[in-house]
């Protein structure tokens, strides 16, 4: 039997759903690029990263369903909850925008997840540690891939630089939410299950700072960021996203293939 940390069930499930939802929703957004990327290599790269994210989400939903113990399956959690029940941060649900916007968002999320998974590898919870053991390798590729594009576009033509600067401005209000701490994240950190998001800021700033320096870009912090995703309060984009994501299961309940 896998080692389990000392934590109450609903805290663990909330924590797992936040994490799983981040990955499912961003994976869905990336998959929207399939067939629309600016070049063939990126047409392969983005669905590949989406696959990593959705694969990680599946493992997390399976564990959340098991921890919850109410007979819901991973599919129920992924496809059959209402908008208010999704606990992803707001950044991952934002529309893709242009390629620069998508790549910058990818860099931000991966630069946040990299130190998270690195810490979770040593989790007191054996299941999460196992998921982290795979994810930590995958996210390294995401940081590298997105980072290279941010440099290429930021340090590229006048037009590509303008797009990257626009992306920095558009995403700035959504960065701080990733690092929010609340009683759930505190309890999880205290139980040795996963690092508290706030503790990841230094590593994030270092990664993004290195890449921005290379790209000649500047990070623009905002005074008041957007928040609410962790409590299920989402932006307008989320409803449209879920309509597409859930369409099959809502139309043909229980459909499998």
């Amino acid at each position: 039997m896998a080692a389990q940390a000392n934590i109450d069930r609903s805290t663990l499930v909330t924590f797992l759903l936040r994490l799983a939802d981040d990955h499912l929703i961003l994976g869905h957004r990336l998959s929207e690029w399939c067939g629309h990327a600016p070049m063939l290599e990126e047409d392969l790269a983005m669905p590949n990263m989406a696959l990593d994210l959705i694969g990680q989400a599946r493992a997390l939903y399976q564990y959340a369903a098991e921890a919850e113990g109410e007979g819901r399956s991973e599919d129920d959690l992924a496809y059959l909850r209402r908008e208010r029940d999704y606990l992803n941060c707001l950044m991952v649900e934002r529309e893709n925008g242009d390629f620069a916007h998508t790549m910058l968002r990818q860099l931000y999320f991966a630069a946040f997840m990299q130190p998270f998974w690195a810490g979770a590898v040593r989790s007191a919870d054996a299941t999460l540690a196992a998921i982290a053991g795979k994810a930590v390798k995958e996210v390294a590729y995401h940081v590298r891939h997105a980072g290279e594009w941010v440099v290429r576009l930021g340090d590229g033509t006048e037009e590509s630089r303008r797009r990257m600067e626009q992306a920095i401005e558009a995403l700035a209000p959504y960065v701080d939410e990733m690092f929010e701490t609340d009683p759930v994240s505190e309890a999880i950190a205290e139980a040795g299950i996963a690092p508290d998001p706030a503790s990841l800021r230094e590593a994030f700033d270092r990664t993004v700072g290195t890449i921005f320096a290379e790209a000649g870009l500047e990070f623009q912090p905002v005074q008041f960021g957007q928040t609410g995703g962790r409590q299920g309060r989402h932006g307008e984009a989320m409803g449209y996203l879920l309509a597409e994501l859930q369409h099959m299961q809502r139309t043909y309940p229980g459909a499998v293939w």
Binding site: M49, A59, H145
Partner: protein, 185 residues
């Protein structure tokens, strides 16, 4: 000698009487089961078997059932289910009652690909992964990848992500051939 195949999950009769698990024969049976499972080719890279790739972790005989343990390469690898079904089918084919279990820890690493597997990949036109997957790579570090066709080290990466989750796209600057590189993780 072995039980005829029956569907996974069906209730089994007690077969202790004709299952030779306790004798020296048990080891042979286990090896037969391993050979059967190990022969399954990877669905996306069919030149190598699941054993060559190191994703077949073990095959044991437990209560008369051949239990194969398989680990996914990537979290989202879409071939996982196909591999599990193929391993189960191969064991059935060999006359075993079979079950496949998925193990995620320890996480698969390309270091588990056997020497034979690396050679097969190269012969197939896929550059095998660099060794020592856990070494810390610098953010923009490039790996030295030799062209599987002409052996030249003058190669460049076209894309970090290739036709499957486990491969990247490269091209050889000497013989000009594009090729897949099995990513090191």
């Amino acid at each position: 000698m072995v039980k005829p195949a029956s569907r996974h999950g069906e209730h089994r009769r007690d077969n202790a009487s004709f299952w030779p698990g306790r004798s020296g024969l048990g080891q042979d049976v286990r090896q037969d089961a391993w050979r059967a499972a190990a022969s399954v080719p990877d669905p996306e890279v069919p030149c190598v078997t699941v054993a060559d790739l190191g994703i077949l972790r073990s095959v044991d005989i437990e209560d008369g059932v051949a239990v194969a343990r398989v680990t996914p390469t990537y979290s989202g690898c879409p071939a996982v289910l196909a591999i599990e079904l193929a391993v189960e089918a191969a064991l059935r084919e060999a006359g075993f009652e079979a079950r496949v279990e998925r193990v995620v820890s320890p996480a698969w690493t390309t270091d588990w690909i056997t020497e034979e597997g690396r050679e097969k990949l190269r012969a197939y036109g896929i550059a095998p992964p660099a060794k020592a997957s856990n070494s810390v790579r610098s953010l923009f570090g490039e790996t030295d990848v030799a062209c599987p066709k002409c052996g030249s080290h003058e190669t460049s990466r076209v894309s970090e992500f290739g036709s499957t989750a486990c491969k990247a796209l490269y091209r050889c600057l000497d013989c000009r051939e594009p090729f897949d590189y099995f990513k090191c993780i």
